[in-house]
Symmetry: C2
Subunit: 324 residues, 2 copies
């Protein structure tokens, strides 16, 4: 059995606790912010877990560093490969550099410039592809085979899921008495890991996912009771454009997630503006979907004390201009 496969697909709370120690050399314990103005607008008490202030500007460093830290010296020597719209790529580049592996990243041609530049700045090799016509997974696998390198999956691997779950573990250490937890949903790595941590620490907690209307693959999959694949989404939330939930993440989501709320690109823009101008933090579209769900009233107002994960902050200055 290759070392990147674990004995089963189950991720336990103990795995997440252990991962939280593994990632410490490079992942930050991000702050939790509050805002009376936001609470007034949302109708509940919000606690923002600021993964936009994380190393690499997103939660992805949690899963990537957990994964890379578990590779053997031989595997590290042969390098790592990843495909990503940006945040996972940057995280893998940072983790690879820290543990002494070379990194090759497969990134879409239309990835935000800041994400591509930040990844390149970590000393990684970048291979671009056409997001609407080419299969990034196939490209990544081919490069990995050619180089004998290890593919670092963006979400559908136990090590990735464990790492992402440390975000909720930390949040619930910081704010133990949450009634609900709201998490952005792309491939489902973040919400599946976070739901395992949250439900273990507080079984009654309500876990709610948020997707863009245009990238509603997990919403549809839950409704149909099986993984559904949708056409390549066009939402501004570039980190949530995965066409279907993962093989491993979907059953965890089915078990732990109460419902998925859908938000429009305009609602995302309004939330980004609120977070920036009122709360002074820069959150990227994918990271702002939780705030968008709250400000649009789609979460409802009777949730009590609510943790919202702001999953990333990598935005080009050019995009901010469009928020006016």
């Amino acid at each position: 059995m290759p070392a990147t496969e674990t004995s089963g697909s189950t991720v336990t709370f103990a795995d997440i606790e252990e991962s939280s120690k593994r990632i410490r050399p490079i992942a930050k314990r991000t702050p939790v912010l509050t805002s009376r103005g936001f609470d007034q607008a949302a109708g509940f008490k919000a606690f923002f877990k600021c993964e936009n202030l994380q190393t690499g500007g997103a939660f992805k460093i949690r899963g990537a560093s957990n994964f890379v830290s578990r590779l053997t010296p031989q595997q590290l020597k042969r390098g790592v490969v990843a495909y990503s719209s940006g945040n996972h790529a940057q995280a893998v580049a940072i983790a690879a550099r820290h543990w002494g592996a070379s990194a090759t990243l497969v990134m879409p041609l239309d990835a935000p410039r800041s994400k591509v530049e930040a990844t390149r700045a970590q000393g990684a090799r970048i291979v671009t592809y056409d997001r609407l016509r080419e299969d990034r997974e196939a490209i990544g696998k081919r490069i990995a085979e050619e180089m004998g390198a290890t593919l670092v999956p963006p979400f559908d691997h136990p090590w990735t899921i464990m790492g992402q779950g440390t975000a909720a573990l930390e949040l619930m250490e910081q704010i133990p008495d949450l009634d609900a937890l709201v998490v952005p949903v792309g491939g489902g790595g973040l919400i599946s890991g976070c739901s395992i941590a949250a439900k273990h620490l507080r079984p009654g907690i309500r876990v709610i996912g948020v997707e863009p209307v245009d990238a509603n693959d997990t919403f549809l999959s839950l409704a149909e009771g099986k993984r559904v694949e949708i056409a390549a989404p066009k939402t501004i939330a570039d980190g949530l454009r995965s066409p279907s939930p993962g093989v491993l993440t979907f059953p965890i989501i089915q078990r732990n997630v109460e419902r998925i709320v859908l938000v429009t690109d305009n609602e995302i823009r309004e939330a980004m503006k609120f977070l920036l101008i009122r709360m002074k933090i820069l959150v990227e579209p994918s990271g702002a979907v939780t705030a968008a769900a709250a400000l649009s009233g789609k979460l409802g107002g009777k949730l009590g004390r609510v943790g919202l994960i702001l999953s990333g902050g990598n935005v080009d200055l050019e995009m901010l201009v469009e928020l006016r």
Copy 2:
């Protein structure tokens, strides 16, 4: 003796400790952020005290709430008055609302729109004046006399200085082993209070102030050994346009501050961009002068572990466009 005058102009560390309890109902314990990218650019290890994430978007709530909390029920009933380019106004409005006083704010015609709107949203009455032609202090005093209201000084009062000093008290609880502390300088309320707290806790700490080149009143005053008044500054750092240091703040600065570093508006813009795009936090021009001093190399690289106060984050979206 009116209740807003204390028995002397000296502010002690014990005063600041007591103030830190008084302000707790409305002032936040703001997070301290770090950034490897910033450290690489600056050449030292930086710890950012994020007062841009403070209630009202700036440190001013510390002094204002400390001041208003000390008023008698009778004084609260007659209301409070303040003059300010924005952050102090908003802070006084929030504090007045919390302690049940009406607030009248004297604000310049060219104050950032967001600051005026946020102040109005707190239920305060706003009186505007022409910054280049009228004397805001005289207007404030006249209104206070007419209404029997209490003037809340923006910097030159022991209660204000004590309150602002809680920023450094907190920072040094969060990061006890700082070698230097870098603070924006307007009228000197923040740096005088912070220098008292910092020097008490760590007598060997180096306290460095930063002013815009165009608003170098404290720099000149230190050079001449007495308070100098300059023409109304035009710098983009609207919170640092005071024409001279305060009667109370200047001797404290003379005693505790090693030197004043001067930064240009362009250096401030570059620092704002770095803080926003790389560190994901929105910092206003006045708040970014400390980062500007570091990134421009003007602080020098051998400072060790350095606390930098980011004093506020109230910026209009329109201004961000100019950063491109």
